[in-house]
Amino acid sequence: MTATPAKPASAVAPPAPAHDLAHAFKDALFSALLALGLFGVIMGLKTEQEPTGLILEQHWERVLWAVGIVFVGRLVLNLTIWRRPGGKLDDLMPKGLQKYGGSTGTAIGVILIAVALTLPFLPGAERYHVDLGTLVLTYVMLGWGLNIVVGLAGLLDLGYVAFYAVGAYSYALLASYFDLGFWACLPLAFILACFWGIILGFPVLRLRGDYLAIVTLAFGEIIRVVLLNWSEFTGGPNGIGQIPRPSFFGLEFSRGDDGFAAYFGLEFSSMHRIIFLYYVILVLAFVTHLVSVRLRKLPIGRAWEAMREDEIACRSLGLSIVRTKLTAFAIGAGFGGLAGAFFATRQGFISPESFTFIESALILAIVVLGGMGSQLGVAIAAVVMIGGFEYFREFEQYRMLVFGMMMVLIMVWRPRGLVSSRAPSVYLKERKKVGADMVSQGHG
């Protein structure tokens, strides 16, 4: 583990070049000492449970590595990036991407869509890739759903996973108690999740900013704990299994004569269902995207963005804060519910373990890292993060660590995410780009 080196005060106004090296060296030495204090004992002595009790194992080499990395990293950073006047990591970002709606952005968007549409039929695409694509698209959809709440309406929701859970459990319970199919349950899951969005949204209407965040976190945990303990109804920690799979206009993906393969005269293959599921989530994600893009143009979408920028001004101008907040909560939650229902049918098994706070944090991180309010940014962030998680599967232990560090680093480096400037929805005569620093978001 390496500490993300603290940015010194001198990063803003670099010292005179003559003292540069000495200063950088001194600073790096100080960081290394600090790292020694931080990591020395905690990393050097590992507590290990033995039959006789706890014992200490010595691992001083880890401390040495950590301190060394901090020292060298700090020295290098001081001598390179922080050395230039006004030097920021910002310069590493491709210029085209910084402007939302710029030509690079459009190009990337088109490429992403093209790849997404043809992924199962691309040469070399195997089951693994399609499964991964399905997973990524689920998160893209969740990200876009949360983007409505966080990015457009500026309400920080730390309990988004609750709605994901509501959707998943709605479908699983409806299917197991009433024998309803996936397609009948999908709208029901949407409505139920919307409903829960309103229930949870209503009491928190008066709360602002970080208070709202903590209460939504509490709600998310409440729902999880209830799901975990209400064993008679939800199956408790054992979850619900044997959730029915979706059918293709009434055709099951089974080996029998009335199955999908037999009807179209194809040879039976388990890939059919995988590919079908992939396209289902692709369509769902596109629906989410289209709805949020269209909503932005409607009065309610404009009200969301206005509320995000300044809640007090909104109220003074006669916007109903109650309606604005509740619709944002409800619609965002609804898409979470859809994704949840899809999750349930894809896994065939759900348990409260899939809906922990860390999942909320992951979805939030996708929205935040992508740039709140930017559809393309969220999609890229989902691809990078979920794909990255998958790519570094061997380093399972470390990936959450890296993920946490990325959240901190992105906030320090580009607080508004990778795609940070946005085109205004309403404009006079010409469309001016709004730079990230001009938008005072998140006071709501």
Binding site: G37, I55, P203, V215, G404, M407, V408, V412
Partner: protein
């Protein structure tokens, strides 16, 4: 009645621990208006520091309980302070003046980092130690069971009272406390009047972390079991305590901590222990909705 008394004692002990953590939240919120989401994890790190120090002392052969406890406490506070300081420096200071949610998101990231860091370097398994303090005082001999207050419970409650008094005095009487209160009111003005705002904020984090270390050590001694995940739940509960008492107010944090501890103990004792967390989370929501300033907090003035 006996059962009630026993739950009361348990609740007060638990509440003292929450109160100590809650002070960290309340002081930081008071001075820079952010929820230090990683505070619960600093508490967790300090519990691990205490555990390691305890094992080292055992290995060296220092077994005199009072001396060992003092050494463990000092060490845990030292390590915890370092973490508190570094977290502020790395994750929050660069974000001062950024938009309001940025520090919170950064804090969530920091919390994930600390949790996984401890999981990696110390392992994911639960760590259990033998009880250090045995014995206690039997207050009342009942028919079914005796009402007892154990030595560690007395120790926790007394330590908490002493520390609370000391910290209240620091904030009320010393120049550091004055600086803190002035930064709380108006940072720019405080800076103009020659107060080192950055230093004051750093020290606030250090103080909060040191108190969390006391809580961490007590937690370790009381429960005897820790793992890398204790910080999350304890953190949310302590934050609830801070909010219940009125965020920004030191006595409020203590009062809130005690109330939360009592509620949790009685809920677990009389209703169901599975839903005790739900009770606490529900209280958090209810308090914020109906009493946003908490019990002892000052009403927030909405500035346009």
């Amino acid at each position: 009645m006996d059962y009630f008394l026993q739950q009361l004692i348990n609740g007060l002990t638990l509440g003292s621990i929450y109160g100590l953590i809650a002070i960290g939240y309340t002081m930081v919120y008071g001075i820079i208006g952010m929820i230090n989401f990683a505070h619960g994890d600093v508490f967790m790190v300090s519990a691990f520091a205490a555990l390691i120090a305890f094992l080292v002392l055992l290995a060296v052969g220092i077994t005199a309980v009072p001396l060992a406890l003092v050494l463990v406490l000092i060490f845990a506070m030292l390590i915890s302070s370092l973490y508190g300081w570094t977290v502020e420096r790395v994750a929050y200071r660069p974000l001062r003046g950024s938009f309001r949610l940025a520090p919170l998101i950064s804090a969530i990231g920091m919390s994930i980092v600390l949790q996984n860091y401890i999981q990696i370097v110390q392992g994911a398994r639960v760590k259990a130690i033998q009880p250090v303090f045995t014995g206690g005082i039997t207050l009342h001999e009942g028919e079914l069971f005796d009402v007892r207050i154990s030595t560690i419970q007395i120790l926790i409650i007394v330590t908490t009272i002493v520390l609370m008094t000391v910290f209240s005095l620091i904030v009320a009487k010393t120049s550091l406390g004055r600086a803190q209160r002035s930064c709380e009111q108006d940072q720019k003005m405080a800076a103009l009047l020659g107060i080192d705002v950055d230093r004051t904020i750093s020290l606030t984090f250090v103080m909060g972390a040191a108190l969390a270390a006391v809580a961490g050590t007590m937690y370790l001694m009381y429960y005897g079991v820790i793992d890398f995940f204790i910080g999350f739940i304890a953190g949310v509960k302590a934050f609830t305590a801070a909010v219940l008492g009125g965020i920004g107010s030191l006595p409020g944090a203590m009062l809130g901590g005690l109330l939360i501890g009592l509620i949790e103990a009685f809920w677990a004792g009389y209703f169901s222990s599975e839903y005790k967390d739900v009770a606490v989370f529900a209280i958090l929501a209810i308090v914020l909705i109906f009493l946003p300033t908490g019990l002892l907090g000052k009403p927030e003035v909405e500035k346009v």
